[in-house]
Amino acid sequence: MKLSGIFILPIAVCAVTPIHAQSMFRGDAVHSGTYAGPAPRQFHRIKWKFPTGDRVISSPVFKDNVIYFGGDDGNVYAVHAATGHQIWKRATNGPVPATPAVADGTVYIGSYDGKFYAFNAQTGALKWKFATDGERRFEAKGLHGMQPKDQTIADPFDIFLSSPVVANGAVYFGSGDGNVYALDSATGDLRWKFKTGDVVHASPALADGVLFFGSWDSYFYAVDAATGKEKWRFHGGEDPMIHNQVGFQSSPVVVNGTVYTGCRDSNLYALDAATGKEKWRFFNDLSWVITSPAVADGKVFFATSDSSLYHVVDANSGKPIVRQQGKAYIFSSPVVGSDVVFIGVLNGTLEARDPKTGDLLWDFKVEKSKQNNGWVLTGDRKFNVPFLFHSNWREAPIVATDQQIRIGGIYSSPLVVNGVVYFGSADGFVYALE
């Protein structure tokens, strides 16, 4: 029975969706977070680094020897993978902390200007753009215990935009307006939209004709990709008091009939893809699971925010296999290369870990992180939380979060191609390491 599970699913996925193994967020439409081919188990050198005008939260993707990504400077970039030289850039009217998808010669990506864009992958020429009902960040009264508690505050940790998935002539993405959209990928015409109760900044995953995504309304949804009709929904945790332990910011991965997703309610969930029934959950002691899990070799790889833990658990049971204490919050989604796992850390470090033991193989710190301006980090490279977050009044926590970001935190999920690992940093650079 296991054999049938292993062999039938890839055939089914292939039949429904073309595989773009490195050309969309988390590699492919199911968001496996795995990359075939060589990956650097040792650090040799910086192959190149590419400067932009602001932080790079977006994750790079690869197609035909070109790296594509968005920048918080409002641009979408195409950069030569071998040299790091810019091929083109196109401006939007807002930051672009989303990851593009590249298919059929087109780059698809959303911007904080509330528009969704399709650019010619070779030239950057605009093919079409689509106006959503408008972008916004998750917000709530007294969010995370900030004061005044009756004031609505936008969430400084709602840092990503939804990244699109492309298949079957459609492009799917979530929006801060609470909708998930399905557009004709050739024309940008609306096929359908599905309304949730709050911001959708997670990236939908697609498997067997079903679109899977979570919303900040505390629900996780399965929707027919062809019609936009709901198949099931799963209720995550709620937090009416300070809205801290609520919402799906993590993007799901679908493997062997199971959907895995992190949640701000501190759980990593495994749900039956057909029914939405919970298979297991892994609780993380009030620490968010923002990372999108990667699944490889029957194991789920993910990490947590406040507790800064790197986990590997059994995909069938959720039983822990590896637990490693990290230094700082982890929002960057881990990727599994051949014999090495890469993950970014918000203290400005890219970590390479052994997939079996979780042991650190090597790490790379960006310059701003080493400088540690404003003592964002402690001497042992943890976040200097009491130094930064000494007030919860007004914008103080938001300013503190921005201070954290300025040391070059790595939110971007790494990309592995031909022995090179690519990622963006909040220091404004995209790095290629080998």
């Binding site: 945790g237 937090d239 980090l377 001497g379």
Partner: protein, 235 residues
């Protein structure tokens, strides 16, 4: 040397010997203002140091970190060296040396394993702030009180046990959720029927009114306040 001359010389030596440390300690006592030069930032630091009943006391103000009148601990004055700490989540340590000619204290500001050079200038007499002190509590408050509150989806059980002593009341403050947490309490007060128990180190506090044999109020964790009623545990 005549006996009278020897006596005069001895007195002179004694005066100098006594006066020297006095002058050094007088020089250290005072309000000191300056900065710690954190990379790409400057922290204003104001320190008050004084001797009271033969012991050094002090408090610190750091506007950028929300500290005002926070007690200095582990004060060690060995002129010209002065060391002290600020306990709590920030965990600050200052190691300074008096530069008497310049009326400056200069040295190292340490926090979270980071080090920065600090220089403070004497600006006047000390204005040391003293921490609020525990008050006695009413006889009917003595003993153990229990209650529950819910936060982030699950219930926490709270126990506060009050006891009176000669120098004020104390309280054992325990919260049992997924873990058993014994909170260090640094302040217990009762003013009329209003009772407060503070654990500054953990950010937890309880405030309630003693009425109808119940303590009705709220538990606070940082900015999060949750209503809670404590009832007496029958012994």
């Amino acid at each position: 040397m005549t006996p009278a001359g020897a006596l005069v010389r001895l007195i002179a030596i004694l005066i100098v010997a006594v006066a020297l440390p006095c002058r050094a300690e007088d020089a250290i006592s005072g309000r000191w203002e300056g900065t710690a030069r954190v990379p790409d930032d400057e922290l204003m630091v104001i320190v008050d140091l004084a001797q009271e009943n033969g012991a050094w006391v002090g408090s610190i103000i750091i506007p950028g970190l929300g500290l005002k009148g926070t007690q200095l601990t582990d004060i060690k004055v060995e002129p010209p060296d002065v060391k002290f700490a600020v306990k709590g989540p920030l965990g600050i340590q200052l190691n300074l040396r008096l530069l008497a000619a310049e009326k400056k204290l200069a040295g190292n500001f340490e926090q979270g394993g980071n080090h920065a050079p600090a220089t403070l200038q004497k600006t006047g007499p000390p204005q040391v702030e003293h921490p609020p002190r525990n008050t006695p509590v009413a006889k009917e408050l003595e003993g153990e009180w229990k209650g529950d509150y819910e936060m982030l989806g699950y219930t926490r059980h709270v126990s506060i046990k009050f006891a009176n002593h000669l120098d004020g009341a104390t309280a054992d403050f325990v919260i049992v959720g997924r873990k058993h947490n014994v909170l260090p309490v640094d302040l217990v007060t009762q003013e009329g029927d209003l009772v407060t128990v503070d654990s500054h180190e953990t950010g937890f506090s309880f405030e309630g009114r003693l009425r109808d044999e119940k303590l009705t109020g709220a538990i606070r964790q940082g900015a999060i306040e949750t209503p809670m009623v404590l009832v007496r545990v029958k012994s």
